[in-house]
């Protein structure tokens, strides 16, 4: 689709050396890798906490920790995974690296702000972790008032940490929107953008328009704790349900910050490994925008039983159903892309197919939960836990893994070990279903979420779930070794090992400092497999 590039000896990795050159880099590719290191570290930490939770839940009663420790570990797991892993995961790591390459730009529009947003993430995370020295935090990642006003001092730090991390997210989104608008290569019209870019664009819109509300909400929680302002405190005339409105006005769109980029990655993977043009390009691109827009109207389904009015509940249930439509379009279009393709099953494709499988289950259970009459039973039970793990882990993390393997040769200029990568897929995929499918059943039986202890009749399913969790854990550990091994010992990668058509594959692996030696000139769409 574009003119072939001259291969250069120098690339962004060996262009300058030393830790300092990395910590002060303005190159979007290096910043992407900084994000990778940060996100993977946080992921290991959050994963470790998940393992501890599953050990505790292996048997009813006390297993390894007491209730207050359990609540702290649960809160840490949620906060780390949401604010430090899944939200920055795809956009700030893979997006940062790939977006300018995808549109034929030399860098993002504001390289300094790009670096600043990484430091915001690190600073925010440090502030949040400082809470561990202040009696920890046990509110859950949702900080519901008035509990979060009354509980331990650490809460203030986590809230302020999340506030700072919010700026990381805002600045990344802002940068991406401007980059996509102003830095496209000649000929790269909007309808020639790869679908990953469309997904990042929709995500960025949400990041810019929703995160400020989180910022002010978290500030108000901090003010509530420090000054007792009373806006969310019923004792002082405030309304805790209003806090839930404020919180979910951000946090529901945030769910799409987590999943939209994953959908973008999967669009890339499926078309590349089917060696076939994507089916219904415009429908997929527009459904990303549609999901982003509608996502702002549906937050009330988190409040179906929270004391929100019945009228509001019904309105929110209706609008929530509408989000299902663009999601269905995407799923069916991906399936249709497979039709009459020429499909290969390297590990990125396995993760993409795994995504389709798990995300579909996450999606249909989402519709079940959107149905207000049934949600009254399922709300705040393990059914919900299973549902959002199917979407967040089964969706987003599968896409991250697929994306890492897919772009590995481009990022590091080396190949990973295909056999062991497939092993990680099997372990993660099987382990995932063993962990979370039983949780649908537990939820149906009525086991509420965030329970330290449970009734004896839930024991066997919890055991199965714990064993599954350890299987996933093993899978991710092996994946880590596959990555490190590929990084150090992998064989040299070609410019375009998968035969894919998007722009990043027309430059050398790894790319030079300014991405392309000659500016690419785009003359056709992104997936012209003829």
């Amino acid at each position: 689709m574009a003119t072939a590039q001259v291969v250069s000896e120098k690339n962004y990795l060996n262009e300058s050396k030393g830790l300092w050159s990395w910590l002060t880099t303005l190159d979007h590719k290096r910043i992407g890798l900084l994000y990778m290191v940060a996100v993977l570290t946080f992921f290991l930490l959050g994963g470790l906490f998940a393992m501890l939770l599953r050990v505790e839940l292996f048997a009813p009663g006390k297993t390894i920790m007491d209730a207050s420790q359990y609540n702290q570990v649960m809160t840490l797991h949620g906060t780390i995974m949401v604010f430090m892993v899944i939200i920055p995961g795809i956009p700030a790591f893979l997006g940062n690296f790939i977006l300018p390459l995808h549109i034929g730009a030399k860098d993002v529009a504001f390289p300094r702000i790009n670096l600043l947003s990484w430091y915001c993430l690190i600073t925010g995370a440090s502030i949040a972790f400082f809470s561990l020295f202040k009696n920890g935090v046990d509110t859950g990642w949702t900080f519901y008032t008035p509990y979060s006003i009354q509980t331990s001092n650490g809460t203030t730090f986590v809230v302020l940490g999340a506030f700072v991390m919010g700026f990381s997210s805002i600045l990344t989104g802002l940068n991406f929107i401007v980059t996509i608008h102003t830095l496209r290569a000649p000929g790269m019209s909007f309808w020639r953008l790869p679908l990953f870019v469309w997904a990042l664009y929709s995500t960025a819109v949400i990041q810019v328009l929703a995160t400020p509300i989180l910022a002010i909400t978290l500030l108000l929680i901090a003010a509530e704790r420090l000054l007792g302002i009373g806006i969310f405190d019923p004792k002082l005339g405030g309304d805790p349900v209003l806090f839930e409105h404020f919180f979910w006005f951000y946090s529901h769109p945030a769910v799409y910050i987590m999943i939209l980029p994953a959908m973008g990655v999967v669009s890339e993977l499926i078309t590349a490994f089917s060696h076939k043009t994507i089916f219904g390009y415009k429908a997929i691109a527009m459904s990303s925008i549609g999901i982003a827009a509608v996502s702002f109207f549906v937050w009330g389904h988190h409040l179906f039983v929270a004391g929100q009015s019945e009228v509001a509940g019904i309105v929110f249930s209706f609008i929530t159903m509408l989000v299902g439509v663009p999601t269905a379009i995407k799923t069916f279009n991906w399936i249709a892309t497979l039709y009459k393709g020429s499909i290969q099953f390297q590990s990125p494709m396995l993760f993409a197919l795994g995504f389709l499988f798990l995300f579909t289950i996450g999606g249909v259970t989402g519709i079940i939960l959107a149905t207000i009459g049934v949600d009254v039973h399922f709300h705040d039970t393990y059914f919900v836990v299973a549902h959002f793990h199917y979407v967040m882990v089964g969706g987003t993390l599968m896409a991250i893994m697929g994306g890492i393997y897919y772009w590995f040769p481009k990022i590091f200029g080396r190949m990973y070990n295909e056999f062991w990568a497939r092993v990680t897929f099997v372990l993660i995929f099987v382990g995932f279903n063993v962990t979370f499918y039983p949780q649908f059943v537990l939820g149906s039986m009525g086991m509420p979420r965030r329970y330290y202890d449970y009734l004896p009749e839930y024991t066997s399913l919890n055991r199965i779930s714990s064993v599954g969790a350890w299987t996933i854990g093993t899978g991710f550990l092996i994946a880590l070794f596959v990555i490190i091994h590929g990084l150090l010992k992998g064989k040299k990668a070609e410019m375009n090992p998968w035969g894919a058509k998007t722009l990043e594959w027309t430059t050398s692996s790894p790319p030079p400092h300014e991405n392309f030696i000659n500016e690419p000139i785009v003359t056709a769409g992104p997936y012209e497999y003829r």
């Binding site: 608008h181 102003t182 830095l183 496209r184 290569a185 000649p186 000929g187 790269m188 019209s189 328009l209 929703a210 509300i213 309304d239 349900v241 209003l242 409105h245 404020f246 006005f249 702002f296 109207f297 937050w299 009330g300 409040l303 004391g307 929100q308 009015s309 019945e310 009228v311 509001a312 309105v315 929110f316």
Partner: protein, 112 residues
């Protein structure tokens, strides 16, 4: 060479005369005086529940003038206007749905 949407002419940036700015400032001052004049605590003028509405309306007219002339949205690219409108729009969405809940709640009384 066509590329994206950055094909504005090089010296195409709009320049607003200072006199226009001065006129707008004058109008803004007049409107500020008007806001004060129709406020109940100051003049005793009472339009019932409309009081807040009138104050809000005048503020919005002032805001529109600042946006259009001082911030240059009138002559600017439409995308900047679109960004501003979408921010206000989603704010209204948040307000509307929160209010929808709060004002349709059924009040429950204790019967003890």
């Amino acid at each position: 060479m066509a590329h994206g949407d950055q094909n504005q002419a090089h010296h195409g940036h709009h320049i607003t005369p200072i006199a226009t700015y001065a006129k707008i400032l004058g109008l803004l001052v007049i409107l500020t005086i008007l806001t004060v004049a129709v406020a109940r605590p100051v003049s005793g003028f009472d339009a019932g529940i409309l009081n807040a509405g009138i104050a809000f309306l005048i503020a919005s007219v002032k805001a529109a003038m600042v946006l259009a002339i001082f911030m240059g949205l009138k002559y600017d690219k439409k995308i900047h206007l679109a960004i501003f409108i979408s921010a206000v729009f989603f704010l209204i969405v948040m307000f509307t749905f929160s209010v929808l809940d709060i004002y349709t709640r059924i009040h429950v009384e204790s019967t003890l």
